[in-house]
């Protein structure tokens, strides 16, 4: 007998969503109240993020910029989520680096993402109370299909004396070409994507790769924002809930209850 017949998928899904939203709010207010200082120590070490945080500082020291490629996913569906994560990372990175007049170079493969990146840059300048000096070429669409985007981004990577490349967003296997271009110009390459082929390629080509869900924790690892912290905590708990549901379901199945 099929479990989905016994338990309506919609109900289960709604349960997941509400649980997550609830947990998110609880943690959000908890973090907000308690004036938390050591959020970062509360997360397991992920080499890619550790190195990224160092690199941001070094970029300012050497006056060499960062390039952030936020992919060509657009805003729809799961790909869109990857793009939104990369934007929240862009906000944090720009806030940190624009004081040293080293605001990052952004490339994207979609108009909506590029516009959002522009707004994010402005917002970062505003929050950092720095005069916006962003040029049109600082945030550009380098191509409109995944491969033409990758090809254009390769050229911008090869052209500029960059400290590091962050590939965060929706990519296909063409991400390998971007990573290789960064390697050619001896830049550090940190890469993460929601696409699975891209992840395998990044693992092989990039200096540091983010696997699966790690990309979606980017905000929490880079900033001390309570909302990011809260969502990571909520993610952890939701994950355990799913694990328990699977275990319970299997046990019930073995017991023949389903």
């Amino acid at each position: 007998m099929n479990l989905s017949a016994w338990l309506s998928a919609e109900i289960l899904g709604l349960g997941f969503l509400l649980t997550f939203a609830l947990l998110f709010y609880i943690f959000y207010y908890w973090k907000h109240r308690a004036s938390y200082q050591k959020e970062l120590e509360e997360l397991r070490r992920i080499d890619a993020f550790t190195r990224l945080r160092k690199t941001i500082g070094q970029a300012i020291e050497n006056g060499r910029g960062l390039q952030i490629s936020i992919g060509s996913g657009g805003l729809n569906g799961i790909r869109g989520a990857a793009g939104l994560v990369s934007l929240s990372m862009l906000l944090v990175i720009t806030q940190k680096s624009c004081k040293g007049d080293q605001s990052p170079q952004v490339t994207s493969g979609d108009g909506a993402l590029a516009s959002l990146a522009q707004d994010t840059l402005h917002k970062a300048y505003r929050l950092a109370a720095v005069e916006s000096n962003s040029k049109a070429s600082q945030n550009q669409v380098t191509g409109i299909t995944p491969f033409s985007y990758a090809a254009g981004a390769m050229l911008t990577i090869l052209d500029q004396p960059l400290q590091a490349n962050l590939l965060a967003g929706n990519f296909g296997s063409e991400a390998g070409l971007l990573a290789e271009a960064g390697e050619r110009s001896s830049q550090l390459v940190i890469a993460g994507s929601d696409g699975l082929p891209a992840q395998s390629v990044m693992l092989a080509t990039a200096d540091d790769a983010l696997i699966g869900e790690e990309l979606f924790a980017g905000g929490a690892y880079l900033s001390a924002e309570p909302s990011h912290e809260a969502s990571v905590k909520a993610q952890d708990i939701l994950r355990w809930i799913i694990i328990l549901i699977i275990l319970a379901g299997v046990i019930l199945k073995l017991a023949g209850a389903l």
Partner: protein, 391 residues
Amino acid sequence: MDSITCLTCGHLNPPDNHKCEICGSPIETQDSPIDATKSGSQSPNPPEDLSSPHIPGEIHGVGGLLGKASLTPAQQAHTRLLKELIAGEGTTPTPPGQPKMRANNLLRIGVGSVIILLILISLLVELPFFSPPELSSETLAARQLIYSLPPGAPVLVAFDYQPAYIGEMSRASQGILAHLMAQQAYLTLISTQPTGPALAELLIAEIGRYTGSVYQAPEQYQNLGYLPGGASGLLIFSEKPHQMTPVTADGEPAWENSEVNQINHISDFSLVLVITDDPETGRTWIEQIGPKLGDKPLVFVSSAQAAPILQPYYASQPQQLQGLISGVAGGMAYQESALFFLNNNQAGVPWSTYSLALWAGAAIMILGVIVAFICRMNEEDSEPRSGGMKP
């Protein structure tokens, strides 16, 4: 000053280095900016130690592996070149300014020339060395579904792959598309990627060249062109196809032919065939369209890179995918098994050359493991590293 140990490969680097000479990964000292252009001096232990011992190991490895792939003397010469080049990664005298860039370039050129020459040679010799792939159960299932289609059955075909994959995807899908045409199905072509419509037209024309009878629009197929909005677009298309795609790719009114003018819901198609290179796109189709199809079958032609993710949907209970043809192998198997003959064995991606290239790739990867292992042996004295992404 003490020399710095690279946390990544354990290699001892001179104190002024910021990127490891061996692995090129940044050396994490708090105050040292990662700047490869600064690191350039020779490694404390002479690089010859790194390279010389592993030559025999490689001869064993390469001989053993490429041997299976029937090496011509020319190819052996090139594998030897490759070995020297990898040895070069340790030994190349690296002038200040570009530490391991040159070694990397040499490695890239070496590896590239080996595999390119291998492919070119086997293309010219054309030896039918590898036997054609076997017909897998999911491919067989797809074939049975096509056979069961009545003439004139409306079939939705999605061309959702990047033009870059045309070699693999056309080889994978030619068989089933030619079969659909042989069954006189009425094809409705669509794509959620703007370059899809052109790919569709090209493939239809190409198959026409192979089979001798070219499908004609709008009598035998209509090309609905580009469907914007990814998941959202599909969601609406599945319920209101006319509303979401009122015209064809070249702006003519669509849905005019008798085979399709009665179609008001995705489940009115007799079969949905999705040709994709990307597991995300594939999952979007399965998740948005699958549930709405009712008892109508959903069949995939997928690139080899998407197959590992899509296969579970075929195996799942209840089955979310009724047929799957994956990669060049799947396409070949389908063609071999079908009752008609496509005269395209030497066009596009010849199976024998392709197989040989895969063998060469595997051999080079094994070579990489051997080289890395031997380098590792030489680094034994430095602190061991648990490595990569720590759990």
